[in-house]
Chain length 561, copies 2
């Protein structure tokens, strides 16, 4: 055995919060020691991390419990990923791949069960190709949003990417495989990928689309390939490890125009959705449009006002109204953008302006933003200047996101209920013990459905003493995704217990009502797969042939065999 | 044995053409007689057709050879499809499902190997739901383009569908599963489906997307569901039989505007593609745009001018130029459309007009078309009136397709090389012995690539005495699909032999150059799967668990086990 290697006791850990640990076997599984020896030979001892500190750090969670990995493996190439999986298959050790491990609120970087190792793909972070004519890139899973953004800027490619709100250091591939969504014309991110390299459980390398034809001319421009279209099965699953992905980029549009709007009253939600839905359905709005309630918006501006609320939770109604006034926001606050030529953007702007008229639409372009900034600098000592300064500070990151520029600003909201001071913009919610459990139901794009969903959510959150932080996104032409979360302080045992109970009730109620999630954290997965169905049987059968030893992320979506 | 049932000799037949029949076993496989008995009990004797006439008719092909089915089974429900497949699995009899059997030029309605039965889903032709608010329908595989179109019109739904050029009687589901494409904003048809019911080889029923949650609110509006996204694996494959499909429809746009353009010279192709590609990439053009060469356009107007060519093939250059002048068409002729509000269509029209300026763009709306028709009627005895009458007759079906209105007009082109008179618009190319082998390579959306592909095609067609009939479609934002075909008279042995050789050389050359097909007929499939690769291995493994007896369309895309 290589010197210096310690085989730690396994496996489930107390989370960063004070939540109860899962019961678990206390010893590493049979074969783990041998696997570690073989991994160390295959990828180098330095790439097999068994350090207590690393493992504890890796097990931190924004949820209420987590599984501590047995080791962290850091491959640098597809060949090493193959070797890791082959060795894992031989010894029957579960391997949970992470791209950058920023899956906050959905299970973080933690394995979904005990006795697994984490495979950290962060060192596979090459941008392998950027094609400015056909507007695509080929990247590895460790490539971050910021890294690709900088690359596109630095090389003056004239290309824009889509960025999610998950921050600068989040992986593109990781988020896309979870079918996350962003803010631009390519906001349905899974639609904008083309060709994946996937290492299967038994170490084989699969190229999807036309990728298995070495010379294919349309390999990065035509998604489907010929024969069965396989890409979908590698999203939200544990059938393989994606090691390369083609992703489509947008040519910087001739004209870009962001729009912002707000509804004064909580009851404005259905009217807002019904104003936007037809524009999305007709293709006038080609990008995702996000509509956040005041609480979500406030949580993006400040932590919970513990002092002003006198320590009381949930946020009292009068304080909520006060904050809304202070921040000059509505009960509902939305944003979206238009992309195209001068003519087409001007035309769409007219249509959007007309539809959103009751909600005071404001349009913002690079020109108006520049002018405002110039004025603000000139008048920065005046009242107007100060207020405008604040507004610009709030608007700029959102405006940027609509152009695909990554920002860490939205992460601020994750720390809403954290009691002790946090860095102004925490780039990792785990660093400030933020508790965060996403609930992300889908619904048809209709105001009625959105209001009904709100009616389901609010009493449940209230019952457990939490605020209803919520965003509705017009994610496609005819579907909404509602993103809401239980926010809590992971160090507060009582609040954490209530958060867990609240999450359980939200999940049971919403699934019971047919508001099925577009994505889920570990606790939700068990509920989503609870009913026997041919769907999950088929998924299990596909798993059984692509990962015969069942070693990739056991328990992820699919119940562990 | 039920009386009146005859077990015919199997299986490979001489095609409608004079091509050589495949060598084949001369007897039906063991178990077939028993299977027929069980099928007759399960779905009724009348739904099990063993008639010589029916079987011969079913074996007709636009290609150069085909397989005659052993029987034709006509289920009326999902339950019957399950029973058919269960019985087939038990006895090991291959079942080739067809929706309407209009897969002309890609294998028609024929099984891909000997000793199979055809399962004709034509009687499963219910439109199960139409939702005008969320703009979708749920249909069975037997629903034809014309049927859905009429339904949407008759019920004043205010909805538009996408229509392919495959004619009024073609199945929507069948074409979508082959990843065919159409002419509208929803022209990438496989993108506009939501939720499938699939009967697997062993008789289980799978519901994809959110379909397996009985109460899912977004079941027909959000495609991916949660967990692995499975839809793709049931396209261009033989893993299951799709018995229901959600398909998205478009709200009739406030404004619609078609555009037509042409390039005078053969050398205009790259400039045309390069003018259109950026508009597609920026989302200004949201629909597929089709660009056909003169030969393709001429073949849509008339049969081969045998007399004027003095019986000579391929078409002499001077006659080709003459016909181009007579029909007032260019060397390249394109069409596309704009959908939206008055403002957005007007704006896009400006942009398209500017980009296509060298190619004389003409815009056509319902208003201009109505005015022209009125004028034409008034002046129908004049020269102008006659010419305008002819033009309108040509334009109307294409204009309709851009609005999703099915037409049989494009089928005319299939009969190009047929020597004897045909009905004016044959609604079934098989009725006039049309020989038709599609070759459909994909390429990046660039003028250079399109020209290079033309340079590959033309000498091969010329060498075998055929014309290069070709369309380039800007099928997505960054890919072109080239659709070209060997057109021949299926009764002419020599021409059929040359057609087959030409197809072989086209296929070998294009695949060799990396112009991989988006879709293929039987002969191409063998070439596409010839190289061993993990891709086809994985496809085979998925097949093995979803259709363990290997009875669904053996030989389709996947090599038969």
């Amino acid at each position: 055995m290589p010197n210096g290697l310690l085989i730690p006791n396994s496996s489930t850990t107390r989370s960063a919060s004070d939540a109860r640990p899962r019961t678990s076997p206390s010893d590493a599984p049979l074969g783990f020691a041998a696997a570690v020896r073989e991994w160390s030979v295959a990828i180098g001892q330095a790439a097999v991390d068994l350090g207590e500190g690393s493992l504890s750090r890796s097990a931190r969670t924004t949820g209420s419990q987590s599984n501590r990995p047995l080791a962290i493996l850091s491959p640098v190439s597809t060949a090493q990923v193959q070797q890791i999986l082959e060795i894992a298959s031989k010894h029957g050790i579960g391997v949970h791949p992470i791209s950058r491990g920023k899956n906050w609120g959905y299970g973080d970087a933690c394995p979904l069960g005990p006795n697994q190792v984490v495979m950290d793909l962060g060192k596979m972070n090459r941008i392998l190709e950027v094609n400015s004519e056909l507007c695509y890139a080929v990247i590895e899973p460790g490539v971050t949003q910021q890294q690709l953004y900088r690359h596109l800027q630095d090389h003056q490619t004239g290309l824009w990417m889509d960025s999610s709100g998950a921050g600068k250091e989040a992986s593109l591939v990781g988020n896309i495989l979870e079918r996350g969504f962003g803010h631009t014309r390519y906001g349905d991110r899974f639609l904008s990928i083309c060709g994946m390299e996937v290492v299967l459980g038994d170490g084989r390398v699969l190229n999807t689309g036309f990728g298995h034809y070495a010379n294919a001319k349309a390999g990065r421009t035509y998604r489907y390939g010929v024969g069965p279209f396989l890409d979908g099965i590698f999203s939200q699953s544990n059938f393989g490890v994606v090691t390369k992905m083609g992703i489509w980029l947008m040519p910087a549009p001739e004209e870009f125009c962001a729009f912002f709007f707000s509804g004064e009253n909580a009851s404005d939600l259905p009217a807002i959705i019904d104003a936007l839905a037809p524009l999305r359905m007709q293709g006038v709005l080609q990008s995702t449009v996000h509509v956040a309630n005041d609480l979500r918006a406030i949580s993006g501006r400040m932590g919970y006002p513990w002092d002003r609320a006198g320590g009381k939770t949930p946020l009292p109604d009068d304080l909520r109204a006060e904050l809304r006034r202070e921040f000059m926001m509505g009960a509902w606050n939305g944003c979206g953008a238009l992309y195209g030529t001068k003519e087409t953007v001007a035309a769409a702007r007219k249509v959007v302006g007309r539809a959103l008229k009751p909600f005071g639409p404001k349009f913002l372009t690079d020109r108006t933003l520049k002018t405002a900034a110039k004025l603000q600098r000139a008048l920065r000592w005046t009242d107007w200047g100060r207020r405008m300064g604040e507004r610009l500070q709030v608007v700029e990151p959102v405006y940027g996101l609509l152009k695909g520029i990554p920002t860490d600003e939205p992460l601020r909201g994750a720390a809403w209920r954290v009691r002790k001071p946090c860095p102004a913009v925490p780039t990792d919610p785990l660093d400030c013990h933020a508790g965060l459990m996403w609930v992300a139901p889908t619904l048809p794009s209709s105001g009625r459905a959105a209001q009904d969903l709100m009616n389901q959510l609010e009493p449940i959150y209230a019952r457990y003493g939490f605020e209803t932080l919520v965003t509705f996104t017009l994610i496609t032409e005819r579907a909404l995704c509602c993103v809401t979360n239980v926010a809590f302080d992971g160090r507060e045992a009582d609040e954490t217990a209530r958060a867990r109970a609240c999450y359980e009730e939200l999940t049971d109620t919403l699934l019971g009502e047919g508001y099925i999630f577009y994505r889920s954290g570990p606790r939700g997965m068990a509920k989503l797969t609870a009913e026997p169905s041919t769907f999950w049987d088929v998924a299990g059968q596909i798993k059984s042939v692509l990962d015969p030893a069942g070693i990739i992320s056991p328990g992820k979506y699919l119940p562990a065999a």
